[in-house]
Symmetry: C2
Subunit: 278 residues, 2 copies
């Protein structure tokens, strides 16, 4: 497994990789969710590249960039074990040189849900993802369904900006008790870790209701909301029942939907989601 | 020479081209300026691709998109003669599918000069150029110095968005009497064509003054302005004496500079420029 830092090293490294090339962008501190993407890329391509970069432009000043967990040695060991061919670990200076002034923005899809609470987040995501795609020129890219809106926004960008690559969105990987895997779970104290189960249990109750015939968007949202409100350590930021493609909030009866939510458990902001009816 | 329309045709066509691949994006109605780019690309690369697309998003509603001159048959003949391997002629529907909502924007460099008079122009340029770069994945790209700010803006985008390609900016090609070649020259009546010489003659007088020792930015601008004001059919929109890289307007003494201007000759808006001291 080759590890590169600079753009020149990357260019040489990429040129040596057989095609098709699968690519998994990450912010590091890898867990089973990331590794499921690497394994899928491994199975579908001749070579696999992974980037590790905690992208400052997708964090707001009051968010957790400074404290975002890091463990490069462990990450490299896990990536090597999963069959990665090349790892790119750019520095902030490589990615955002002095006088940087170019941004990639997806307009409509970024106005709702996460975008409404984190107004500069997706501009940072799409800009860095465009840079990664440009530098790596992959044939397939792998994203997790955990960040449902991110997957929708990047898919829109791929289509709108004519990237000649296949976007693969992989299922959420959960802990045995249901908690969606996230690098941010490491922030949770033991009681918070227990309380955080309300996200997945709320979603599972909504799923069970849906499977039992419930089709009211409002009732599905209410089931999730009730579960969060029953947990004293949790504070709901939003719960949404939306069209899985347009992310438009649904009213009345639903045929299929993306139920998603953001919850503060202590100071830690967690998100989770489930797609129903597809 | 292969001619393709759709993204799929393009992808197949590009995959067959040997590397390095030189790429020349155009809006068609080709003249000797475009062909100088194709010949340079031909000389420096194993294969050459050209796009022809009058990009609607870089025209404001009151600009000349509807009337922009076209002659595809002649363009293809000229491109074939210049040794082009592949021509991409996307439709508006291929480039801007329904629900298109992603934009690439260079911030600082687009606020001055052309950008201040055409506020949505460069967003359209950088978005379509990013799409063309993504779809073609060229190794070298060729732009004309005629659109000086465009060359600076695209260079900034290439650097900021990590495109692994070399940006080549080629000299302005002029008619024997000095008029910079432009597809828009075809709009000019015979008297306007004669009047249009004031752009290049003003720039040449500024160059002669610079070579004679004149270093005052204001005096260099005044020399150009005077030449335009002496021409009854011409109306000056702006004349600038700016830093060639940052495009910041210069005051006092200049060491090197980009003198650029925009002039209406009748209803036709023409631009021209010259770099001094480099």
């Amino acid at each position: 497994m080759k590890v590169v830092i600079t753009a020149d090293e990357l260019k040489k490294g990429i040129a040596e990789l057989n095609r098709p090339l699968g690519f998994v962008p990450t912010m590091g501190f890898l867990h089973e969710g990331h590794l499921s993407l690497v394994r899928k890329a491994r199975a579908e391509n001749r070579t696999v590249a992974v980037s590790i970069f905690a992208n400052p432009t997708q964090f707001a000043p009051d968010e957790d960039l400074e404290n975002y967990p890091r463990d490069i040695d462990r990450d490299l060991e896990l990536l090597s074990g999963a069959g990665t061919d090349l790892v790119w670990i750019p520095t902030v200076g490589v990615m955002y040189p002095e006088n940087f002034q170019t941004w990639v923005e997806v307009e409509e899809l970024t106005k709702v849900l996460e975008g409404s609470y984190r107004p500069t987040h997706f501009r940072g995501v799409t800009t860095v993802v465009a840079k990664l795609f440009n530098a790596v020129r992959p044939d397939r890219v792998y994203f997790g369904q955990k960040d449902a809106q991110q997957a929708a926004v990047v898919s829109q960008m791929v289509r709108d900006l004519s990237y000649p690559l296949e976007m693969v969105v992989c299922p959420i990987v959960r802990e045995p008790d249901g908690l969606a895997m996230s690098s941010r779970n490491t922030y949770l104290s033991a009681p918070e870790r227990q309380a955080a189960l309300c996200l997945s249990s709320g979603l599972f109750k909504a799923r069970d209701a849906f499977l039992g015939g419930e089709r009211s968007a409002q009732k599905l949202r209410d089931i999730v909301r009730q579960e969060i409100e029953n947990e004293p350590l949790a504070e709901l930021q939003y719960v949404s029942c939306a069209d899985p493609e347009t992310l438009a909030e649904l009213k009345n009866e639903v045929e299929n939907c993306l139920i998603s939510l953001a919850v503060f458990v202590g100071k830690t902001r967690l998100i989770d989601n489930i797609i129903l009816g597809k």
